[in-house]
């Protein structure tokens, strides 16, 4: 029971790392769609505009998935 309660509690609060990953995947998806449509790499402003997130937040999010061995891991293990 203690285990379950702890599991629920830990998953109740959304860790920033979790949300960063979600954002990062959205960014990757947006880049792919853009590249397919325009046959060139989007700039960060183009991606930011498309998904409505500040360009600085985009690079913050991308770091979370480009760095699989990082401190973000405990959340997912």
């Amino acid at each position: 029971i203690g285990e379950i309660r702890r599991y629920l509690r830990d998953n109740n609060v959304i860790r920033v790392s979790r949300s960063l990953r979600d954002t990062a995947y959205k960014v990757l998806y947006t880049r792919e769609a853009y590249t397919r449509k325009y046959l060139k790499e989007p700039t960060i402003n183009e991606i930011a505009e498309e998904i409505g997130i500040a360009k600085e937040e985009i690079v913050y999010a991308m770091d979370a998935i480009q760095n699989p061995l990082s401190l973000y891991d405990p959340v997912y293990s």
Binding site: R6, I14, V16, R18, E56, E57, V75
Partner: protein
């Protein structure tokens, strides 16, 4: 991590650097495995402090803003310093709704937000010398530890 970890940041007091400063501090505090809400709180408080340094401290002239961050156990300390005009009466300036620039879109709620979103706020300032805002927040308070 029970040791301290520190960083310092220095940047031009341009509004375009505000997001960069926010994300830097957020990336630093990510090491404490914070919740979304905790990061948002710190970013809001930091934005208010940096905006104040830009518009009040340096009156929109481009000079240097200094941020210092320290983590000790689960506590985050954030200091924002400018060497600008300083504040005559800190107590008065910290009152909610008090602003010396009512003509612009200032709400006078900057310090109130810093106080609300962080656990501790202290302001040191000297007219003609500058201002340091010091904020603390415990991260991950909901975790058993």
């Amino acid at each position: 991590m029970s040791e301290t970890n520190e960083m310092k940041l220095e940047f031009d007091s341009r509004p375009c650097n505000e997001s960069f400063a926010r994300v830097s501090v957020a990336a630093f505090m990510t090491q404490l495995n914070p919740t979304l809400e905790e990061v948002a709180d710190v970013k809001t408080a930091l934005s208010e402090a940096v905006t104040n340094a830009i518009v009040h401290g340096y009156e929109n002239k481009v000079q240097k803003i200094y941020i210092e961050c320290r983590m000790e156990d689960q506590e985050l300390l954030v200091k924002v310093t400018d060497y600008g005009v300083g504040i005559e009466n800190v107590e008065l300036a910290m009152q909610p709704l008090y602003t010396t620039k009512p003509d612009e879109e200032r709400s006078g709620m900057g310090f109130a937000f810093m106080e609300a979103f962080m656990d501790e706020l202290s302001v040191e300032s000297e007219p003609g010398k500058g201002t340091t805002v010091c904020m603390r927040k415990r991260i991950g308070r909901f975790e058993r530890k």
